[in-house]
């Protein structure tokens, strides 16, 4: 039941306990307990809303930054990752296999603001060897949801 529950709320975190109980075929109290356990265990880390900022009047720029770093003795990549993720404008930090080490996603009000973050805050950090910044031009799909198109039911209305 836990995995099925997680798959449902990953797509719709607003669904209420009563409805979850109905579609999972269990009691409400069981759903409540499972959710509480998953939160305590840190499996559920938060309940977010997927927003297409493009459609708002707010100016917003997103960037992906590839970072190469020298791991520090005794701490590996964790220490430098922490230094980076503490900045609130940083959205995500991943350790990556391959040509570079850390992948950062970042949100800012403008290109200038993101450039300033990279040159003033990120690049000067010790142990950072290089950065490569990519600005996101358009989001087609985010968190498994297609943002650009609305789904239209193309089926005939009555079929045997």
């Amino acid at each position: 039941m836990r995995e099925e529950l997680l798959r449902i709320i990953e797509k719709n975190s607003r669904i209420d306990l009563k409805e979850l109980a109905v579609i999972l075929g269990v009691e409400e109290i069981d759903v409540a307990n499972a959710l509480a356990d998953l939160e305590t265990e840190g499996v559920i880390c938060g309940y977010h809303t997927l927003i297409d900022w493009e459609k708002t009047s707010l100016e917003q720029v997103s960037a992906l930054i590839e970072v190469r770093v020298t791991p520090q003795r005794g701490q590996g990549f964790d220490h430098i990752a922490e230094r980076i993720y503490k900045y609130p404008e940083v959205n995500a930090v991943y350790l990556i296999s391959g040509g570079y080490d850390l992948l950062i996603t970042l949100e800012g009000k403008s290109l200038k603001e993101i450039s300033a973050f990279v040159s003033d805050k990120l690049a000067p950090l010790e142990s950072i060897l290089s950065t490569a910044t990519h600005f996101i031009l358009k989001k087609y799909k985010d968190h498994g949801t297609v943002l650009s198109k609305k789904h239209v039911d193309q089926r005939e209305k009555i079929t045997p």
Partner: protein
């Protein structure tokens, strides 16, 4: 001018769904709970293989029976899911949907006057196809108190010395009924004792929600040699428009079915066959994900019916529920017509699937939970109104 038509085809009534389809097509803003196909898109990796086959120029006929590779994969699937062993060379034919398989199986097996037992309510094709094959349909009216399962006694009573074939349509469209192993064992005993054959339409085999996974009657001892097993890609992999089904039968029957297929169809669509190889090899995860979602919707509907006080047995297969509307004193056709006019939601009257479907509605849950909620909300309003009308009259 002479009458250009065959007497036989003229006597066959058009599908009862047709009339309703015409009304609904006129109403652009109508919601529908009336479809018999998945709402999911065909999973992308499957579509991608179809596209790739076109890019590679695989645009020719396949062999009559279908791509060898696909027939082998179908046999692998039947082995791993049901423990069934078929010979991909002599016992498997790819068809244009399960529908073609129904047609060619009946045509290959019936002599004029042979009786075909058809349990109803059921899919609309069996009866006309049996007539077109010069067979005589013998209808068994399945009962709500048996959860619309076929019982050995009902079968026994329908058998005469002319009976040749039993059509076994489970999991069932329109009722959602299933047959469990114990039910099938009782049927198999009667079938073997009377030396008749079975055409088992298991197109919804993967969409089964009970504790026991779907059992094929062909699995039971002594049954494979007297069974034509029909399945396909439409429902399990959400591939209705690809028109691809298959049938597995003892070589002696398959050989004759292949002749009809060869002359009438040539071969199933090539692009679909390439896509289907990908589906059956790597599509288990997709099937699992879709089944999980259908099951959530099924539970939601059962709950909603209980809340609005609409009696409905709990169905464990396909993606239909079959609530009873007898208490309102309307025929299923009248109910569906008024519901459409007053609430703009289309459902299919149960009578479209056989006389004993009268008094019931087929409601499909091949819709997102969000869409279902809106449509079922309107059903609750409508049912509430009918109840109030009825109470006023008393």
């Amino acid at each position: 001018m002479r009458n250009p038509l065959s007497d036989k085809i003229v006597t066959i009534k058009p599908s009862g769904i047709r009339k309703f389809f015409d009304i609904v097509s006129e109403m652009e803003d109508a919601l529908s709970l009336g479809v018999g196909e998945p709402d999911f898109d065909t999973p992308w990796h499957i579509r991608d293989e179809g596209i790739y086959s076109l890019e590679k120029g695989r645009t020719f006929y396949t062999s009559n029976a279908g791509l060898k590779e696909l027939r082998v994969e179908i046999c692998n699937y039947l082995k791993r899911r049901f423990g069934l062993e078929y010979d991909p060379v002599h016992e498997v034919i790819l068809t244009v949907g399960g529908s073609e398989a129904i047609d060619i199986a009946l045509r290959a097996m019936l002599n004029p006057g042979d009786e075909v037992i058809i349990p109803q309510p059921c899919f609309v094709s069996y009866e006309p196809c049996a007539v077109l094959a010069d067979g005589v349909p013998v209808i068994i009216n399945l009962k709500a108190e048996n959860e619309f399962r076929l019982t050995a006694q009902e079968l026994e009573e329908a058998i005469t010395d002319k009976t040749k074939v039993l059509v076994l349509p489970f999991p069932n469209n329109p009722t959602g009924a299933i047959m469990e192993r114990k039910d099938l064992e009782a049927i198999a005993e009667v079938v073997i004792r009377h030396d008749i054959f079975v055409i088992t339409d298991e197109i919804y085999a993967e969409l089964s929600y009970g504790s026991e996974r779907h059992v094929s009657i062909a699995e039971l001892p002594g049954m494979k040699e007297r069974t034509v097993l029909i399945n396909g890609f439409s429902k399990a992999y959400a591939m209705t428009g690809w028109r691809l089904g298959y049938c597995c039968a003892p070589a002696v029957i398959a050989e004759q079915m292949l002749k009809i297929h060869q002359f009438a169809i040539m071969c199933a669509p090539t692009t679909s066959q390439y896509a289907a190889v990908e589906a059956i090899k790597n599509g288990d995860v997709d099937v699992e994900r879709m089944r999980e979602e259908y099951n959530q919707r099924r539970r939601y509907l059962m709950h909603a019916f209980a809340e609005m006080g609409l009696p409905c047995f709990e169905p464990y297969g396909a993606f239909y529920v079959f609530p009873c509307i007898r208490e309102f004193g309307l025929t299923s056709d009248e109910f569906a017509t008024r519901f459409l006019q007053e609430e703009k939601v289309a459902v299919v009257p149960g009578a479209a699937f056989g006389d004993c479907g009268e008094g019931y509605l087929r409601i499909s849950y091949a819709y997102s939970l969000e869409s279902l909620k809106v449509a079922i909300g309107r059903l609750a309003d409508f049912v509430g109104r009918l109840k109030a009308e009825r109470d006023r009259e008393r």
